[in-house]
Symmetry: C2
């Protein structure tokens, strides 16, 4: 069952009924001020850090669901009837409803009683505020006397106290009203001010939630809306809100626009200029145009045209859009991530850079340096850091006896390598960066080296890296008295990182290092193939007591997907073993909704495994379709040249393929989710935790470098597609190091992989690597597969 | 405006309309299993620790307010209409509504469409469960075919994760249904099981919240209720609930009873016997009778009869009831305290013991030892501890440069002294107890001594105790580079503690200590009177830079109440200064709703004061009527012999005096609240944070020992009332050390204070101290004032 469709010309997803299975949301953000909004206008806002500077409140997992939000009430003076153009919160039936989630904006449009209302919500690029632009059109033959109420519920800045320390936080709010503006702060003013205003004339306002809503009521039937007027309340303590009432008289067919501005400033005096600026509707329109231009410029950097429009829709629009969001907010803040404890994950943010470094290289550079600053002198890193302070920490589930995650620091190598391949910016390796726990500093290159050292110093009884608190799989804790659990997967990650280090050493004239890393990589490859091949696939880990995990001898957790995909990605597996392992994945783990993490799921809690067995079968890490792993598998299949399988995996995980089964899939069909329940759960196919997932960056990578085969290398752009055989070809426009590559790939022989010929500006070249031009020019690239 | 009345014969408060200004609640608890319930059946449950073993979920500070709860829906097959007998959550008008909060139980009764429903909620004394007993009476002339739906929403055991870690916790629930029972646990089963069952036949059930409620609905209109049948859903992950549907056919005038049982067990097999037991309505009735008997026995230990029935209602019923609640749960868990971070406060729990040690001496003894186990070897203590582990911690607002609260450890002395005076149990002083931070142990007596030592080792530039992170006033932080803030109030507390130690040293043969403490007390008294007398009153503190706080020279915070009351309580003040100081309190701080903490409030944030200035004027510690301080003042007035003023202060803070202004006061008129907004706030008189406050124990103390003047001493019960002159006298039945004192006080000359004559069993005695009998007999005591 469908709830909407993709409008590609406008780069929008259009939701055509309001009662989506979960709130289908959008992120409106300039990377500092962030407003999340659902298709019914639910959602919340924050400034830089959702923990410390939460502007609007949201009640997660609530009944009624998806409350509160950025609400507008239309009140008809004549009938005393009222409704909301976003359906929520009043929930009265609308004659027409449509929500358009665009890139950085959301438009909700509806009609009732002959009144058409359209609200455009967006955050301008250069100011820390959000705009709600409301246009009301009277389609009736009568003059309409309306009251327009706005409503936003403030959070008490510190999101954790706001939830947990009511006896304190319910006594610190301070609101003021003057010159058509509501100001809101805490009494100590430390967080700065929020302000709310409108270009229309305010008939009345309310700052006190209880005064506006009334006792035993809620957002669906506020007392003040029912009465048709505000009470001009001020909140001193209690729950501050911004509610206003504007008068609007519309002749038949007349149309008027009001807009509302909600923003933050450090000092109250700073608000004046901003408010002045946004009184002018032209300025508002200009800011909206700039936002649209930003996204046009962003997306033009990689644009594909294949025979599969769905594939193009995801690769050209929604996947890059989601990548920007995960890069901005890691796994910190969404409708499922409460923006309190998780901060910016180290492993997460490192991986997120690979989804954006072709479009935002300067921001990636800064992020990589911020991350490196969270490394300890022995090479391990904080698991997360907070955006305001950029200071790190460990989550409370860290095992104090194994105080690190075994994969975190190695992701830094992978991310830095990737950034350098995209930009050629080898200089970043010479940046000097402090360590967290000492006064010493080191070049970024040396930071990467000691990351390798840390892993090499923490090797277990079977010659594999100790798993620490866990590896990429946060819940595979392998607890026990010996702290001896080992991760095969980290061995693969280490090998992959070493391949990167070999190249970086070579390019930066660290010859000795290069030899050392090469030897190390060879040893690891040999060792892994000796100890970790189970017969048909690679194992996953050894427990504290030395039991194998991920073997055909296990009753549960026989085969895990990651060891197979990464054995290929990391070049550990021979072609034969790669083929055998990936065939096993297809045979045992593939489902119609995606590839499962492992099978069979564990059916009871096991002390020696830990967190992974705290979930019922087919949920989360206990064998769900954990989406992040699927693009790794696609990349592996592409390395093997199996384009049809890679494409099948891509399609079955791609959100656009869920559009027609949205009632089963539940989350947004334009955005990847963290997980989809596996086949042993009664709600097989239901996705959870949309938006913030490593799936975004890696899926874009699997499309760009895997299927389309366009991979930045140190000395040029490599072309080596791995496509479904039925494709006749495809074209890509790709910005790379200061030039534009207009790539036209033809597949006359209907192969999946293989290059016959490449012409650059009509001149045939040898090999698969397009030269670096850096000349701001367009270059035509013709590629013949076969 | 009134919302209800006191039914003293039944020891109930009766609420006669459901829309109280805040939820008016009750605690149903056997001190392990605790169920909070509002007058509309909202509320939640936990087992031992609300942080780690939360059974039912509650949405604090929610819209709609007071959700969820222990709900029942009555569905009429014929009309397809449905409603809730508790008004919430359906909110349909009822023909009759009444809620009776009794001691340990709540009865909600209503009538609609000729159907009378009465639900009794209680927690039995000896099993960890709650019972909802529903009796339905068909008052119509027709036969009624009804469906009865029950509804409770589970919390995912760990209350903090339940709020904050949705992406994890939303994937761990596990429910099962069998033999008429819903079982609920997390998949790892670590927390144990909750079970829900009914004695009726279950037509259908639901364990999955979303399946029962339906999309974009809430508790007011669940889809399954609207359809008249459950969907038999199981929750695996997601939000588990217990909802059942029973069929009920009632002939005209027929009455039937169904009951529901919700409880916890460690292992599923343990549930069987309990469920079997509670299938029998007689067992249910027996458990209810035992509960009522418990409270009869509890209250008989102190029973007063004065000319003022309101005074008696509070002193005999509601204040002791609240004291038991604060003793059980400290400041940890209520409708305003979220039961996550605060644990059992050290200073709070110490003070709470004085409200119950006449009734629960064995539990107080255990509590005192638990508290002492949270002392460090240098004498300071953890600010809080958690009930499951009994292990302590500091709150996150502790100043790491001043890592202690300057009052915490001294409260231990006051509590132990008080317990010994009540019980005569000097042996407790010889109990050996470990320190938190070392392998060493010490007798409780030595624990108390090093508490004194700690304070003596932390004295500031003006010879007063350093304030540390703060003193009793958590928000008077006095930050600064020198860590030099000093508390006059702690000097008074120290003097008070020393008076206790002098007596304990004497009684336990520590003669040298006695001399030392006596000298110390004299020095402190002299010094305080030299440095802390401002001219009309005592000052409050010195800031880090040495500025005086609480002086007539200050613009704000000129006069604080605590230094004045405690100068008297601690016997620091001479009679002249005591009178002058208390007169100043009356002149400057008294209001019609109670005495304010200080005046004038601070009007901007001050770095050198800290937390106290983060509140707007007249809220919380910035000069509200902070109720806890009022009984201290009453005790001080009684020491001064000013019975009329003491009585005036008692009445104006007593919740029963708020019954007629419940719309202004807002919180329960049978229970003290933490604070009432002061006169500089637009909502002057509005109370906040009811139930968990030190006000409870100290107000009972101020009635027992202050106004009624019945004070346990080491060698007998001292009689020295301080009453309003208009009283002709009063009687008290008082249990003390194994005997019953039937005290009849006459006041023929209408004095406030002074004893002419005391007769014990018709024999005149000298002095004011009644002997210890310990003979299980009644003794008649005649007291003539004058």
């Amino acid at each position: 069952m469908k709830y909407g469709y993709f409008d590609n010309p406008r780069k929008e997803y259009v939701i055509s009924r309001p009662d989506t299975p979960t709130p289908w949301i959008n992120y409106l953000s300039n990377s500092e001020y962030c407003a999340m909004i659902s298709n019914c206008a639910g959602g919340y806002s924050f400034h830089i850090d959702p923990r410390d500077r939460r502007i609007l409140r949201y009640r997660y997992n609530n009944l009624p669901s998806d409350r509160p939000g950025r609400y507008i009430y239309i009140y008809d003076d004549e009938s005393s009837d009222y409704w909301s153009p976003s359906w929520q919160p009043v929930l009265k039936d609308l004659d027409i409803y449509e929500c358009r989630h665009g890139l950085g904006y959301t438009i909700i449009k509806s009609r009732k009683e002959g009144i058409e209302a359209e609200v455009t919500y967006f955050v301008p690029l250069s100011d820390n505020l959000e705009i709600w632009k409301l246009t009301i059109h009277n389609l009736t033959k009568a003059c309409k006397k309306l009251k327009i109420f706005s409503y936003a519920e403030f959070c008490l800045w510190r999101a954790e106290s706001d939830q947990n320390d009511l006896q304190y936080i319910q006594n610190v709010a301070y609101t003021e009203f003057g010159d058509n503006v509501i100001y809101y702060s805490l009494y100590d003013r430390h967080p700065g001010y929020a302000f709310f205003t409108t270009n229309g004339d305010i008939l009345g306002f309310d700052c006190d939630r209880e005064e506006f809503i009334g006792p035993y009521r809620d957002e669906s039937n506020p007392q003040r809306v029912e009465e048709g007027k505000c009470s001009n309340s001020i909140a001193i303590g209690g729950n501050p809100i911004a509610a206003t009432c504007n008068k609007l008289i519309l002749d038949s067919q007349e149309k008027k626009t009001i807009f509302f501005v909600l923003g933050v400033v450090k000092e109250k005096k700073h608000a004046k200029d901003i408010i002045e600026k946004y009184k002018d509707i032209k300025k508002v329109e200009t800011e909206f145009s700039k936002l649209c231009q930003f996204w046009t410029d962003y997306l033009k950097k990689f644009k594909v045209n294949t025979p599969d429009e769905d594939f193009d829709t995801i690769v050209n629009i929604w996947n890059p859009y989601q990548c920007k969001t995960t890069f901005d907010w890691s796994r910190y803040v969404s409708f499922y991530e409460t923006g309190i404890g998780r901060g910016m994950g180290f492993r997460d943010s490192s991986q997120d850079t690979i989804g954006v470094n072709y479009a935002l290289p300067e921001r990636v550079r800064q992020r990589l340096l911020d991350l490196a600053r969270n490394q300890f002198a022995d090479g391990h890193v904080y698991h997360l850091y907070f955006p305001l302070s950029k200071k790190g920490g460990f989550p409370n589930y860290l095992n104090p006896n194994k105080p690190y995650f075994s994969d975190d620091h190695l992701w830094m190598i992978i991310a830095v390598y990737d950034y350098i391949m995209e930009t050629g910016d080898l200089k970043i390796l010479n940046e000097t960066i402090d360590f967290v726990d000492s006064d010493s500093e080191a070049s970024l290159y040396n930071h990467l080296k000691i990351a390798i050292d840390f892993t090499l110093k923490h090797i277990g009884n079977h010659g594999l890296p100790l798993i620490g608190s866990a590896d990429w799989n946060d819940t595979l804790n392998l607890p026990g008295p010996n702290n001896a659990g080992e991760s095969l997967w980290v061995a693969l990650q280490l090998h992959f990182a070493l391949l990167s280090m070999i190249e970086l050493a070579s390019e930066s004239n660290h010859k000795k290092d290069g030899i050392k890393f090469t030897n190390l990589a060879e040893q690891i490859k040999k060792h892994v193939n000796e100890v970790a091949w189970d017969g048909e696939w690679y194992i996953r880990a050894f427990t504290d007591s030395g039991e194998v995990i991920g073997s055909s001898n296990n009753d549960n957790g026989k085969i895990y997907v990651n060891p197979q995909s990464w054995a290929v990605i990391s070049r550990i597996a021979s072609k034969e073993r790669a083929t055998e392992a990936l065939n096993a994945v297809k045979r045992y783990l593939n489902t119609e909704y995606g590839v499962m993490l492992f099978t069979p799921p564990y059916i009871e809690y096991r002390d020696d495994l830990g967190g992974i067995t705290t979930f019922p079968p087919s949920l989360k890490e206990n064998g769900s379709i954990f989406c992040h792993t699927n693009p790794w598998l696609i990349l592996a299949e592409c390395l093997l040249g199996r384009g049809d399988i890679a494409y099948e995996y891509f399609n079955q995980i791609s959100p656009i393929s869920k559009n027609k089964i949205a009632d089963i899939h539940r989350t947004e069909p334009y955005i990847f989710s963290q997980m989809i329940t596996g086949k042993f759960h009664p709600k097989f196919g239901a996705a959870k935790n949309s938006w913030l997932t490593g799936t975004a960056a890696w899926t874009l990578r699997s499309a760009h470098q895997g299927i389309l085969g366009i991979t930045p290398t140190m000395h040029g752009l490599m072309i080596n597609p791995c496509i479904p055989q039925e494709w006749d070809g495809f074209t890509v426009v790709r910005y790379f190091r200061g030039a534009i590559y207009e790539i036209n790939v033809k597949n006359p022989n209907h192969v999946s992989k293989g290059i016959q010929k490449i012409k650059v500006d009509n001149v045939k070249i040898e090999g698969k690597i397009l030269p670096v031009f850096n000349d701001s020019q367009d270059h035509s690239i013709e590629v013949i597969m076969g």
